[in-house]
C-alpha cells in the first residue's frame, strides 16, 4: 500500500475518532453496564418489594379485569402482560389510561390523550406494588446506550456507530502489516506516546471481532430505516406491511368496533400452547381488549432454541390462531437478525459470558481514551494550538473519566431517593447528567491531570461505597429475606459495588504514589514506524 494512502487513512482515522470519541465512550460505557440490566433492576426494586419467586403458578384471568377496572383504560390501544422472569420477579401489566374524569368515548381530534401506565404486581398475592415506574436506573443506562437521551438520539448514535465501523475498518488496514508481528506488543518502558499507541493497537486487535459485531448490530438497530428504505420504496412500492410479512414479522392494527365480546381464558390458552408447542410463554399483548375485534398475541421463547423466539396471534371472535396472521417460523431474515440481536445483548448465556462482554466493552472504552491521549501527545509535539489541546484534554478527561463519579451518583440516588418522590426516575437521570457536567467543568478548570483523575476515582469510590453501605443500613431485612429465598441478584450488585469502590480507591492511591510527570523525552519517529504508531 502506498505511504500516502496509509497517511490519509491515519488522518481520517484520527480525525473521525477524535470527533466521535466522547459520545462513543458513553455509548460503550452505558452498554457495558446494560449487560447487567436484570441484576441492576432487581437490585433497585427487590429490596423495596421482596417477593418469593416460583412459589405459586401465575394466573392472570382473575387479575386482569380487577386491575383494569381501577383505571380509565383506553381499550382501543394495546395492553401488555409480562410474566415474572430473570429480568423482573414481578408480574407486569402495562396499558394506556385516560385521567379518571375523562370521557374516553370522544372521537377524532377531541379524543383525549391516554397516558401509559405500568403496574408492578406481586405474582403471589396479586397486590399492586406500584404504578409509578420508580426503578428507572437500569432502563436509563439502556436508553443512554442507544440514544444518549438526545432528541433523534437513535439516528445520532446510528451515525456514530457508522463512523465507529469505519474506524474499525481503517484501523484494520493501518495495522494490517503488524497485526500478527506486533500482536500484544506493549512497550511499558517507553514514553506515553508509545504506551498509548500500543494500548490502542493491542486492545483494538483483541476486541476487533467483538467491536465489528457490535458496530454491525448497532447499525442494524439504529439505522435500519435507511437500510430498508430502497427495498421498501422500490421492490415493495411503499407497501411496508408486505415487506414486514416477507421479513417474517406480522404487524397488526385491528380496528376497534366498539361491540362487546367475552374474552377467553388467557391462563387456559397459555397452558395449551406451552404443552403443545414446547414453548415458554413470557408475555401477552391484548389488542382491543373486550371488543369483537380483539386479538391476543402470545410471545415467548422456544425451548432448546438459540434464536427462535415464538409469537402467535389468536383471534378472539373466531376462537382460533388464523394462518394469515401466523407466518412460518423458518424465515431467514427473522431468524438471522434475531440471532445477531441476541449476540448484541449477550442474553444467550449466563453471567459468565455477559461478564466477558462487559470486560470487552470496557476494553473498547480504554481503546477510545488511549486513542485520544495519543492524539494529544502527538499534537503537543507538533506544537498545535494550546486552546485545541486544552479543550480536547478537558473533554477526554471529563467526558470519559467523569462518567465514573456520574454513574456512582446515579446508583446512590437510585438507592437513597424515597419511592414516593414524584419524578424519581427523572431525578436519577439528572443526577448522572449533573455529575458528568461537573466532571467536565472541573477538567476545564484544573490542569493537573493526575490530581483530577485521583479526585474522580476517589469520589467514585466514596459514592459507590456509601451506596453499598446504604443497602444494608436501609434494607438489611429485605436483603436477608432475598438471600433466604435464593435470590442473589441484589447481593451480587451490592458486592460488585464494594469491589468497584475498592478498585477505584486503589487506583486513586496509586496515582497519589506515582511521580508527578513523565520526564522521558520523545524519540524521533522512523518512517517505517508510521503505521505502527497510529
Amino acid at each position: 500500500m502506498k505511504a500516502q494512502t496509509l497517511r490519509n487513512l491515519v488522518d481520517g482515522h484520527g480525525w473521525i475518532g477524535l470527533f466521535i470519541s466522547i459520545p462513543l465512550f458513553i455509548v460503550f460505557w452505558a452498554g457495558s453496564i446494560t449487560f447487567f440490566q436484570p441484576e441492576v433492576y432487581r437490585w433497585a426494586s427487590t429490596v423495596h418489594f421482596p417477593v418469593a419467586e416460583g412459589k405459586t403458578e401465575v394466573k392472570v384471568d382473575a387479575l386482569i379485569d380487577r386491575k383494569l377496572a381501577q383505571y380509565n383504560v383506553d381499550k382501543s390501544s394495546r395492553i401488555f402482560i409480562t410474566y415474572p422472569s430473570e429480568y423482573s420477579p414481578y408480574l407486569r401489566l402495562g396499558f394506556y389510561a385516560f385521567a379518571p374524569s375523562t370521557d374516553a368515548s370522544k372521537a377524532g381530534q377531541d379524543k383525549p390523550r391516554a397516558k401509559y401506565t405500568a403496574l408492578l404486581i406481586d405474582p403471589n398475592s396479586g397486590e399492586t406494588l406500584t404504578d409509578q415506574r420508580p426503578f428507572e436506573l437500569s432502563d436509563f443506562f439502556y436508553r443512554l446506550h442507544y440514544n444518549l437521551k438526545l432528541p433523534q438520539g437513535d439516528y445520532v448514535v446510528g451515525f456514530i456507530t457508522l463512523f465507529f465501523m469505519m474506524l474499525l475498518m481503517t484501523g484494520l488496514v493501518i495495522q494490517l502489516k503488524n497485526l500478527i508481528k506486533h500482536f500484544f506488543l506493549y512497550r511499558a518502558d517507553r514514553n506515553t506516546r508509545y504506551k498509548m499507541n500500543d494500548l490502542h493497537n493491542v486492545v483494538g486487535v483483541v476486541t476487533l471481532p467483538y467491536g465489528l459485531m457490535f458496530a454491525l448490530t448497532g447499525l442494524m438497530f439504529n439505522l435500519n430505516i435507511i437500510a430498508q428504505l430502497p427495498t421498501v420504496a422500490v421492490l415493495y412500492k411503499g407497501d411496508i406491511n408486505a415487506a414486514f410479512k416477507d421479513a417474517g414479522t406480522n404487524r397488526i392494527n385491528p380496528e376497534f368496533l366498539d361491540k362487546p365480546q367475552a374474552m377467553p381464558s388467557l391462563d387456559k390458552l397459555v397452558a395449551e400452547l406451552e404443552q403443545q408447542e414446547q414453548v415458554d410463554i413470557t408475555g401477552i399483548t391484548l389488542y382491543n381488549y373486550g371488543d369483537k375485534s380483539a386479538v391476543i398475541r402470545f410471545r415467548g421463547q422456544l425451548e432448546h432454541s438459540f434464536a427462535n423466539h415464538y409469537a402467535r396471534y389468536y383471534e378472539v371472535d373466531k376462537g382460533q390462531f388464523p394462518a394469515e396472521l401466523n407466518s412460518a417460523d423458518d424465515n431467514v431474515f427473522a431468524n438471522g437478525t434475531r440471532l445477531l440481536y441476541r449476540m448484541h445483548f449477550a442474553d444467550f448465556a449466563g453471567v459468565d459470558v455477559r461478564f466477558i462482554f462487559f470486560i470487552l466493552g470496557l476494553g473498547v472504552c480504554a481503546m477510545i481514551v488511549a486513542g485520544n491521549v495519543l492524539w494529544l501527545v502527538k499534537r503537543q509535539k507538533r506544537n498545535a494550538t494550546p486552546k485545541t489541546i486544552s479543550i480536547m484534554r478537558a473533554l477526554t478527561l471529563g467526558g470519559c473519566a467523569g462518567v465514573i463519579p456520574a454513574t456512582a451518583l446515579s446508583f446512590l440516588l437510585e438507592r437513597s431517593l424515597p419511592l414516593e418522590l414524584s419524578m424519581r426516575g427523572d431525578m436519577i437521570e439528572y443526577g448522572f447528567g449533573i455529575g458528568l457536567f461537573i466532571a467536565v467543568i472541573a477538567a476545564f478548570r484544573y490542569q493537573e491531570q493526575n490530581s483530577l483523575l485521583r479526585h474522580y476515582a476517589l469520589s467514585g469510590a466514596m459514592l459507590f461505597a456509601i451506596t453499598a453501605i446504604l443497602d444494608w443500613v436501609l434494607f438489611a431485612p429485605a436483603l436477608l429475606y432475598l438471600i433466604e429465598q435464593g435470590s442473589f441478584a441484589a447481593l451480587s450488585v451490592n458486592i460488585a459495588l464494594l469491589l468497584v469502590s475498592f478498585a477505584l480507591a486503589w487506583f486513586s492511591y496509586k496515582l497519589t504514589a506515582k511521580a508527578p510527570a513523565e520526564t522521558e523525552q520523545e524519540k524521533p519517529v522512523k518512517g517505517s514506524e508510521l503505521s505502527q504508531q497510529n
Binding site: I16, M165, T231, V332
Partner: protein, 86 residues
C-alpha cells in the same frame, strides 16, 4: 476532511443503496434470504466505501469512480423496475 465526511457519507450511502437493489434483481434467492443479505451487506458496504473515501487525497478522486458506478447501477435498477429487463 469535512468534504470527505459529508460528501463521502452521502455518496457512499447512495451507491450502497443502488448496489443493494441490484442484488435484489440479480440474486436468484428467496426474498427472506435477500432481505437478510441486503440488510447485513448494506452497512458493511457503506462503511467500506466511506473508508475508501478517507484513503484518498481528494474527494474528487472518489467521485470520479463512485458517480459512474452509481449511474450504471441506478440505470440497471431503472431497467428492471420499468420492465426493460424482465
Amino acid at each position: 476532511m469535512w468534504s470527505k465526511t459529508l460528501i463521502g457519507t452521502l455518496v457512499s450511502m447512495l451507491v450502497t443503496m443502488s448496489l443493494i437493489l441490484n442484488l435484489a434483481y440479480l440474486l436468484p434467492v428467496a426474498i427472506d434470504v435477500y432481505l437478510f443479505v441486503a440488510f447485513i451487506s448494506f452497512f458493511l458496504v457503506w462503511a467500506g466505501l466511506l473508508s475508501y473515501f478517507y484513503s484518498l487525497d481528494k474527494i474528487t478522486q472518489g467521485l470520479k469512480i463512485c458517480v459512474p458506478v452509481l449511474v450504471l447501477s441506478a440505470a440497471l435498477n431503472g431497467a428492471f423496475y420499468t420492465g426493460v429487463f424482465a
